[in-house]
Symmetry: C2
Subunit: 196 residues, 2 copies
Amino acid sequence: MEQGYEHTSIQDIIDHLGGLSKGAIYHHFKSKEEILIAVTDNMTAESNQMLAEIRDRSDLNGREKLKTIFKESICRPVQNDIFTVAPDFHNNPKLLFSLLHDTIDHAAPNYILPILQQGISDGSIVTDYPEQLAELILLAANVWMNPMIFDSSEEESYRKFMVFHQMLQGFGLDIVDDEILERLEELTSIYQKSRR
Amino acid sequence: MEQGYEHTSIQDIIDHLGGLSKGAIYHHFKSKEEILIAVTDNMTAESNQMLAEIRDRSDLNGREKLKTIFKESICRPVQNDIFTVAPDFHNNPKLLFSLLHDTIDHAAPNYILPILQQGISDGSIVTDYPEQLAELILLAANVWMNPMIFDSSEEESYRKFMVFHQMLQGFGLDIVDDEILERLEELTSIYQKSRR
């Protein structure tokens, strides 16, 4: 949080662990990247928990669930931390690769697809290809609109978001409101500041 | 072409170079991956040449150019070779990373954006955010719909394509026809066979 991922060495981490030896750390983690992956896995588990809870709610229709997921995802306070300590993916192709495949192979079918299917049943979402639409929505949201992967100014983030919005409208989905928009600009601004 | 990327060693390559020594190869390429990157760069240069020619044609409006680019891209016979020798991106996160950034940072602004801008001027394309739409279109076409990156059955490829089609229609763009659809199924089939 203080130094950012790139400027933190394993020695920096050890120095703040109250006497744990370098050997003890290396017993568990071969590299700084492995520590980051463990932290990321932890955050992903929390995020999946949130996604599962919304997916399983009985008081919302499909479209409302999709909107709630989108809002919760970007409104969680932990996002501020994630964007502050965000690694520079330009130096971590493996990490980007794993995010990309987690998005398409895990998150899309397990969380977004069941919601789209519910939406088709309750009439709030119209598509003939829910599996593929789930993938495309998450690819756009998690990868393309992720300022950790593609550097974007606030203006560019806003414009990406508007194109995303228009894309969803093309599928009859209107899940965007002013609150989401403001939060997105806030996150981008936090990330921009952390990179200066 | 005969053995596929994964099952070809540097020694296999040297054995077919008519007496060139291992040292001579390693003088130019540190690894098999570097050879692949050189080949890929070469193919990308040819593809960019094609994109530039269509972009600069004076007999087509914006929408027609976009349709022509899409058709030419997947109809080039060299695509058969590419899909036959295709590396498994699962073992090459760096390669995926470089494709992703080439798509967003180079191909989208240099080839697709000018065409969208022309389309806006001539009234054949309607969008307020051509830069971002160019990125989203290419991310979907080059990454998501690329069976080298995300394994897809023919049925899945077809469904992805239909969602892509619907997405473009949401932006007022109808650039898809039966010829493109048939070709896409053919390419997927070639790739599937090469992986068995």
